[in-house]
Subunit: 794 residues, 2 copies
């Protein structure tokens, strides 16, 4: 439907209209002030060049629209006593959100030196985009925010993440027309097929068409309105239009559109909650068309600016040097009539304050935007309940992720009433062998269900959509509003969210430095279906580089674990689910894998993060080993153990130490990562002068990059994935990448001084098996029997 601004059913009295307009003007004034001014905030004297910042950095274009939305959200929150959160997709409109927070008082509560008076306003203006000040975008520093809008694409999935399991929350979400062109945003419209009207809150998307991106028109602003309506209805929404550039008319239309949308949301929720399951609701969406840079300079230097891309950043760019620009800036600022908005001390007048709600209902003060304040410990049982029995290492096999599934199922069960845990994944939960969770919670699904379907559930908390972006966005929104979760993903395709996780780590890093932000649950990845076991998908599905990507990020906020078996996976999972403010990456297999450690051993080993497996080596007491065989990852661990066994049988006099690394950051210097080992520890484990043959799950150079400062680095020889992939058997994959047991034995022989001659025959036997492997596999398509049937005999 379209709202006619001249409709008779005007929801606003003249008084309300006046105060809404005053609030909006005040916010606009404060936004312009932040971008331009470093003194004379109330324009008590004529504007002079020295009042203006030397470097003008900020984005005006979207700010008046965001101010309009904030103002009108204030009205309905107050009138309806709503609990609301807003996701500001066009986050580069930072000055708008900060301005509103200052007006409502939440800014001063968090930053007491930015007082609600002239001095505070001066600080507010000066700090913006100023060295040592606040960023120009909505950011962790911004009260009420859980979404940095710089990269664009994730506002709507964040909004849904915030709404899940928050039945009384309204999540408004402003989507810019630029952001609407991105893939992640386009995919996330379909989130409404996963929103449970009973247990989840409502998401109200506000598509803000201001017509332009940085320098180009926006696609959705330039298709005919009926076509846009079809698109939005095709997304499952019912559009409500607000279009205009005359402020009073737009205020009226916006108030009516908000009332209309919220009435419908309330009715849909009432119906679903009264009747239980019903039809999937068709939720409203507001389409707001206002000029880019609205109320800013109409023309600058003879070119149109208001309503065009030229107002994207700073409409007047040469204010200090150009008297006409200075004059235009002053006129622009005075057009808001600041003397009507602020008293002589710079305090907002009553008209300006009138629309603002009270206390925690203010958008800048909602606890949902500081989720750590709402966070509860996850109920986790003792790991013995899930542990696999291990009488002897390397005899029995389990699928580690299947074992983990039992733990996750219990977490689902224990949170059935609290509803503060969700599992997300791109249609891979069962493929990743976590299907035990389905016994505790079905898969969220509001679209059509057929008889043949399994585990679909209108109230489920397992979330599966074939969009890694949407999974990640949902989970980020869920975590930042104070809940828990885990993302299970094919290892290769988690790169799809490389850029998203960048932003989340940045968010966490910055939040950690803000004392008012309470710690939130960590973002936990389970990367499985990994590089070594893509038997049927091949090269396109093989990439272990996410670990490299993550380890480039702030060490304070990232952790990477490679548990080698089921019990160590349990231990790591328990740890990460209890942790706060990290991005944790777990790489673990779903295929049958030897059990190496008992639950107790696993706990100790994972707590240490790296350690000697005495039972696997041949050190025989106190002397230094001749060689260290190190491993990280399930497949490398198996190959190293098999190599250790071959060495024990073939070269029994060789003193071999086996070291397993679970927590990969342990290899880094202590100064570089909080988990890093001291040199004393490292040298004790790896020696300073013996050869170290290291079998690593991913790209081998990562290990060098972590350990290059160690004394023993010159003796370090790493094997790993060398980007040689195809559809083949598991063992053929390790042979192709020189990570196989026979190659590792040859590496040892090549590197232990004096061994090359003495062990030449052994080396030749290893070489022979590899050749035999090549022939066998081409003939049979399976692995050599001695490999397929291998087990540890220690």
């Amino acid at each position: 439907m379209s709202v006619d601004p001249r409709a008779t059913s005007d929801p606003l009295t003249d008084d309300e209209l006046r105060t809404l307009h005053a609030h909006w003007r005040a916010a606009n004034y404060l936004a312009v002030g932040q971008i331009y001014l470093m003194a004379n905030p109330l324009l008590t004297e004529p504007l002079r060049p020295e009042h203006v910042k030397p470097r003008l950095l900020g984005h005006w274009g979207t700010s008046p629209g965001l101010n309009l939305v904030y103002t009108h959200l204030n009205r309905v929150i107050r009138a309806r006593e709503l609990n609301a959160l807003c996701i500001w997709g066009p986050g580069h409109g930072g000055p708008a959100v900060v301005a509103n927070s200052w007006l409502e008082g939440s800014y001063t509560e968090i930053y007491p030196d930015v007082t609600q008076d002239a001095a505070g306003m001066a600080r507010l203006f000066r700090q913006f985009s100023f060295p040592g000040g606040v960023p120009s975008h909505v950011a962790p520093e911004t009260p009420g925010s859980v979404h940095e809008g710089g990269e664009l694409g994730y506002s709507l999935s964040h909004a849904y993440g915030a709404a899940f399991d928050n039945p009384d929350l309204l999540v408004a979400c402003v989507i810019g027309d630029g952001e609407a062109e991105t893939g992640p945003l386009a995919a996330s419209w379909h989130s409404n097929k996963f929103l449970d009207p009973v247990h989840d809150g409502a998401v109200l998307p506000i598509l803000h068409l201001n017509g332009y991106k940085i320098a180009n028109p926006a696609v959705l602003a330039r298709i005919p309105e009926p076509e846009l309506d079809e698109l939005l209805r095709g997304y499952g929404h019912d559009p409500i239009h607000v279009t205009g550039d005359e402020p009073n008319a737009v205020h009226r239309a916006m108030a009516q559109a908000m009332d209309n949308a919220l009435d419908r949301i309330a009715a849909l929720q009432r119906a679903a909650r009264a009747d239980g399951a019903g039809e999937r609701p068709r939720w409203p969406v507001i389409v707001l068309r206002t000029p880019k840079g609205w109320t800013g300079p109409a023309q600058v230097d003879g070119l149109p600016v208001e309503g065009t891309w030229r107002s994207h950043q700073v409409p007047l760019s040469a204010v200090r040097d150009h008297p006409e620009h200075l004059r235009q800036l002053e006129a622009w600022l005075r057009s808001y009539r600041p003397e009507e908005l602020f008293d002589g001390q710079g305090r907002p007048r009553l008209d300006v304050l009138a629309p603002i709600p009270e206390g925690a209902r203010r958008l800048g003060a909602t606890p949902h935007a500081n989720g750590g304040r709402l966070l509860r410990e996850l109920p986790l049982r003792d790991l013995d309940a899930y542990a696999v029995p291990v009488d002897k290492p390397g005899v029995t096999l389990h699928e580690p992720t299947r074992v983990l599934g039992e733990l996750l199922a219990d977490v689902m069960r224990a949170t059935a009433d609290r509803r503060d845990f969700r599992l997300v994944g791109p249609d891979e939960t069962a493929s990743n062998r976590l299907q035990a969770v389905y016994e505790a919670s079905g898969k969220a699904w509001q679209a059509q269900t057929l008889q043949v379907d399994e585990h679909l559930d209108r109230h489920g908390r397992v979330m599966e959509i074939l969009s890694e972006h949407t999974c990640q966005g949902w989970l980020e929104g869920y975590l930042l509003t104070g809940r828990h979760g885990l993302f299970s993903c094919y290892e290769a395709f988690v790169h799809i969210v490389d850029s998203m996780v960048n932003q989340h780590v940045k968010w966490l890093k910055t939040s950690r430095a803000l004392s008012w932000r309470s710690p939130v649950a960590s973002l936990n990845y389970l990367l499985t279906s990994h590089v070594w076991r893509q038997d049927h998908n091949g090269f396109s599905h093989q990439d272990p580089g996410f670990v490299d990507h993550i380890l480039n990020k702030s060490p304070a906020a990232v952790r990477v674990y490679l548990p080698p078996d089921a019990n160590t996976l349990l231990s790591v999972a328990d740890h990460v689910l209890r942790s706060r403010d990290y991005v944790n990456v777990i790489v673990a297999g779903k295929q049958p894998c030897f059990d190496w450690l008992t639950m107790d051993q696993a706990r100790v080993h994972c707590a240490r993060g790296a350690g000697v497996w005495e039972w696997a080596g041949t050190e025989n007491g106190a002397r230094e080993p001749d060689v260290v065989l190190a491993c990280a990852g399930d497949v490398p661990t198996q190959e190293v153990l098999a190599a250790a066994q071959l060495l024990r049988r073939n070269l029994p006099e060789l003193a071999v130490r086996v070291v397993n690394v679970v927590d990969i950051a342990r290899l880094m210097p202590r100064e570089e990562h909080p988990h890093g080992m001291s040199d004393f520890e490292y040298d004790g484990l790896f020696t300073t002068d013996r050869p170290v043959v290291f079998a690593y799950h991913g790209y081998p150079w990562l290990i060098h990059r972590l350990a290059y400062r160690r004394v023993g680095h010159r003796n370090l020889h790493v094997r790993g994935y060398k980007e040689i992939g195809t559809t083949t058997t598991p063992f053929d994959m390790v042979v192709r990448n020189d990570l196989d047991r026979y190659r590792l034995v040859m590496d040892v022989i090549d590197r232990v001084p004096g061994l090359a001659v003495r062990a030449a025959a052994v080396r030749q036997r290893m070489e022979d098996v590899r050749l035999r492997h090549h022939d066998w596999i081409r003939a049979h398509g399976t692995d050599l029997p001695e490999v397929a049937d291998w087990a540890w005999d220690g």
Copy 2:
């Protein structure tokens, strides 16, 4: 519109129907055979366990649908003499595409040992998903393919990329309902706002709704058909539906839908080409609903399989061990009546061959899928035409990307008729200062245009959409079909396509090993608006890690360049535009940057990739330097030069060598990368025993990871971006990350033996400037005058 299968306007004669059905059955038979059989291909004897592969790896679910599309594309290509290419989005249906290629003969032409007879069929079956054989997905090995379907999301943008500037080409594109949930796919529907009906070919999307992804229903298959129609119309398409599970009825409906779609496409193109500019066409889309695993086993072990997610991979999984499964497999294979499809020698019979077009019109033989065969050299002028004059280094300033813009504009001009060069970017062409290209070509745009817009052009070849995914997909499709291009992108946000570039590099790596694939133009990235110059956007826009990501990929196919000024950027750009089969990454600034090298010097320096800048150092002839100051990247180069100047003034007796690195892979060992230096070269440049202070553009540990094998590595000290970012001045950014000139001088003093005491006062002065910087910037918001006004005085 909806096509009624019983419509009277039946486009098929009974003969045609019979041959189409025979072709489809043959393709289905061959797909099943590939997944299951390693012997007895024609079922000339009863099926026994040993005829079946020991490891069953493949995806049946989507194959019958792909076979249907291939069969019907054959019909219309033949009937209308079309030049066509098909993008097979559900690429895991590899056996279907391979089966069709074998039937049409294109497979045997490329792989002569896979003959079109029983022996060849046996090879065809055995090689599939078999070690040393062919991948299970559509891949570079597959004739007619330019799209690996493993990751999903990019089929439609690839299709548009292929269609751009190919006015006579029809690009069909099968989109699976799983892929349709991904963000990149969702965004790419809007590509039709960028398709010029005059100069571009047509894209015919075929949305294949088979109802399920891996284990879940697909969203678009489970919304009401009217809602789906609204979505597709909202995307700008006109849907044509084909729904059914009775083969003859579906053949009829599909033939009619194809004719309908192609008639409309022909009419739209005729109108646009006759009238010139007109309304944006509403292109047809076919929605094909057929059961997943259609014609496969209806039930297995008592559970429904055909039409459900259970047929996604191998419907019968225990054929060797389970007699009932074996029986079902035999019945399934025989249901296609192979004896009617192949003669006694295994050759396809005439009925099967009847629908297949001739020669290069066959989908497996089109040159557009082997784009190197169509590739022409780009017309590039001598670089002197664009070079900036450099009388003395470090005096004049230019914006490097703006200078490059002139070169790109000339390429646009020189290809105005050929139309085989495009520039893509997410709304950042002007922001990245490449706007000179607009003088040569406008921005492609078919949506509404307003008076105030600039440079929009229905026939433009500058492509701007706020979707890095779509930009990348367009460019990949354009390059793989034999054209040229460049992608300009903000450095931080190119991570959005990390996963896409993975797949492209894999494609190139695999293609290089296939002698029948001709080299294609490289995929060239210009990464600008980089980490050091995000003055107004701050932390969210700061990430130099794409270089790390790229350098994990196959060394044969990746190149990274960091030109330090305008002339070196020209030289590098000229080189990459002439190169083939690489992914080239150029990192270069858009802000004013000192000119260091003349054009001739730049050519020599870039050809070497790394070298001593004698004029900048103080070696004074033959003796070894006391210290090497190395740099890579424009901002680090400036800081190193400023540090060299400070050292020359303050410690004139110190012999300083300045080394600049443009081609970062030069640092790697020659064995690891084709561009790697020999140890002899490296040691000559960096010495084996002198301290090397290396200022690098990105994460410092990358340099260690590249150089760890060098003898001099222990003396290597690297400064770079340490993930400390915010909205601040350019110089404050380098200070915060310890990359500034004063810090570099301190590093030198700390590392040159004996200098710490002698130069204590100098060191203190450096420290003092840094402290002064901190105070100044907080007070003024600008950089210290001595930094802002700095220039080289050598």
